[in-house]
């Protein structure tokens, strides 16, 4: 009977590391309360300090290490491309967590949820999808919770918006114990102060 692709998580982790090392600038620092440009389209002001890794279509921020808190910015995801960079939809591979321009917010929520599962996260639950106004843009946000193989339970949220017919997202997650409660307020403030370049 079938054996499922458990290696996917490893492959993705290696891919992410390769991406960070090959394409990224050296790790930087996001200083508290200093406006920071992220991926050329976002202006972010954070009340807390983060270590910052840049790559070609986004940035990864963390305070204590990516397993303990992680703010992932992914920008300019194009029509028919996988939301987590796993290639383009093709005739041979038409169905997957691919973004399509013009999707409604609930469809994007579902695509991201399936994308999380594809990354190897388990018991992924999303809830409370709601619109948020960021300048002239209508973005949407939903809460997300999931477990990892070791049994650690994570909480977080995802904010996403379409700009120039491309999808952009900010995904924050941290373990439900200690790290999420500690930083949740700071992250809420960061998201509330977010600015998007037109």
């Amino acid at each position: 009977m079938r054996i499922v692709d458990r290696w996917r998580v490893g492959v993705l982790a290696i891919g992410l590391m390769a991406l960070l090392s090959a394409c990224g600038a050296p790790p930087g620092l996001v200083r508290p309360n200093e406006p920071t440009k992220v991926a050329r389209i976002l202006n972010v002001t954070s009340p807390i300090e983060w270590a910052r890794f840049r790559f070609f279509n986004g940035e990864l921020w963390t305070v204590d290490g990516t397993a303990l808190n992680r703010m992932l910015y992914l920008v300019n995801i194009r029509d028919r491309y996988h939301v987590f960079g796993l290639g383009k939809a093709t005739k041979r591979r038409p169905d997957g967590a691919f973004y399509r321009t013009g999707m409604d917010a609930s469809e994007i929520e579902a695509v991201l949820r399936d994308g999380f599962t594809g990354l190897g996260l388990v018991n992924v639950k999303t809830a409370n999808l709601h619109p948020v106004r960021i300048g002239d843009f209508t973005a949407f946000r939903f809460d997300v919770s999931f477990d990892v193989g070791s049994g650690l339970h994570y909480l977080g949220n995802v904010t996403f918006f379409e700009r120039r017919e491309k999808l952009n997202m900010i995904w924050y997650s941290a373990p439900a114990e200690f790290y999420h409660p500690r930083d949740a307020e700071a992250v809420d403030q960061l998201l509330a102060d977010l600015q998007i370049r037109k």
Binding site: R2, R92, E107, R113, D114, N128, G149, E162
Partner: protein, 398 residues
């Protein structure tokens, strides 16, 4: 050089024979007994016991007491005296799978439960896994793999020592043959377990044709896969077609053996999970296979189950967006709404479908109905946003 190659070929054959013939005999399986401490099997069990502790902590485990008790009882009925030797773990994975470790750890994946129509079908699967346990297939395969790998290591050294291209060529061929022989052994073990599972299910009075029916459904799904099929020689299990034919022939021979399917009890036990397992299945985003599965589920689904099948059919077509899918999605959502007790989210998602095909007034009507049926919906703000967009009150930013 030619003599050298012949000698190496001889050595390859001899080493392989040695590898295959050197397996330690299997112990007699007695209920409640562990392998003696001084055996390789005991070492394997110790490692597997540790793996079982991790499995017990896995977030993928379905811990619902009622479902676990139901499946465990089936396993006990099928395993008889060996009931206490087997621990069952239900794993939340949307693929058809079940497995059995030599130390008695049985995994049943939710994809197998979703695809089984009744007790008789899942009973066949559980009996098959019990067959692996009783025939000690895993330990045989493990020993065989060890022996063959040892033989191949010796051959590799010989090939390297000879320093000729012929020697390397012979080694490559031998390696392929040896690995293929492992797969053949695995296929033989599957056949043996199929027979065991069939006989145990039939002995409990289950209808003999249910195993073949299950495989017929799986074969239809497999044929709908949108990628190339794997090579027959390296398939780790018998081709489904062959398996189905064998089971069908066996069923014909035992046509009068029993009439029990246990459909009602199975539906009752799996009812609370049906919608979430369907959602997990949708999450695979392998739509051609899911369509086949939904068609099969529709034939037996009643009441709320039917509503969920139709709702997810609508979701599938809305998300797939192939030609004609918009109409198919609308029809499926409407079919779901004809079933009493249908999920109100069918209105919401039908509304999104109408929005996609630019029918705002129809979309607005569906969203209003959704909010009427589900006034405390968690996504109320989003639906209201689209509702005001549809009625022209809001400005879009796209």
């Amino acid at each position: 050089m030619k003599t050298n190659s012949r000698a190496l070929a001889f050595a390859a054959g001899a080493a392989l024979l040695f590898g295959c013939a050197s397996q330690a005999p299997l112990r007699d399986m007695t209920p409640g007994e562990r392998p003696p401490e001084d055996t390789d099997e005991a070492g394997l069990w110790t490692a597997l016991d540790e793996a079982e502790l991790s499995l017990q902590r896995s977030p993928l485990l379905i811990r619902d007491p009622a479902l676990n008790a139901y499946i465990k009882k089936m396993v006990c009925d099928l395993a008889g005296d060996y009931c206490k030797d087997i621990r069952v773990y239900i794993i939340r994975r949307p693929y058809f799978n079940a497995s059995m470790a030599p130390n008695g750890v049985m995994q049943v994946w939710t994809g197998a439960l979703l695809r089984s129509e009744n007790e008789a079908q899942i009973g066949f699967v559980l009996g098959h896994e019990i067959g692996h346990f009783l025939h000690q297939h895993s330990i045989k395969q493990w020993r065989r793999t060890k022996d063959i790998m040892n033989a191949l290591s010796i051959l590799q050294l010989l090939a390297a020592g000879s320093g000729t291209q012929d020697a390397y060529d012979i080694f490559d061929v031998t390696q392929v043959v040896a690995i293929a022989s492992l797969y053949k052994y695995s296929r033989d073990a599957e056949r043996e377990s199929d027979t065991e599972g069939f006989e145990r299910a039939v002995k409990l009075g289950y209808r003999a044709d249910q195993g073949a029916l299950l495989w017929q459904g799986l074969l239809a799904e497999d044929n709908a896969r949108d990628r190339n099929k794997p090579s027959g020689i390296f398939a780790t299990h018998p081709a489904t077609e062959e398996r189905m034919t064998t089971l069908r022939e066996a069923a014909e021979a035992f046509a009068d053996a029993g009439s029990r399917t246990g459909e009602d009890a199975f539906q009752l036990a799996t009812e609370p999970f049906f919608a979430s397992w369907l959602e997990d299945e949708m999450g695979r985003r392998h739509y051609p296979q899911t369509i086949v599965l939904l068609d099969r589920l529709q034939q037996r689904a009643l009441g709320k189950h039917l509503a969920w099948v139709e709702y997810y059919r609508g979701e599938l077509f809305r998300k797939r967006r192939a030609g004609g899918d918009d109409k198919r999605a609308i029809d499926a959502y409407r079919a779901a709404m004809r079933v009493p007790g249908y999920p109100p989210i069918a209105h919401r998602d039908l509304g999104y479908m109408y929005r996609t095909i630019q029918m705002p007034s129809q979309a607005a009507a569906e969203w209003r109905q959704y909010l009427k049926l589900q006034p405390d919906a968690a996504d109320r703000a989003t639906v209201e946003h689209y509702l005001s967009e549809a009625t022209g009150a809001a400005h879009a930013n796209r």
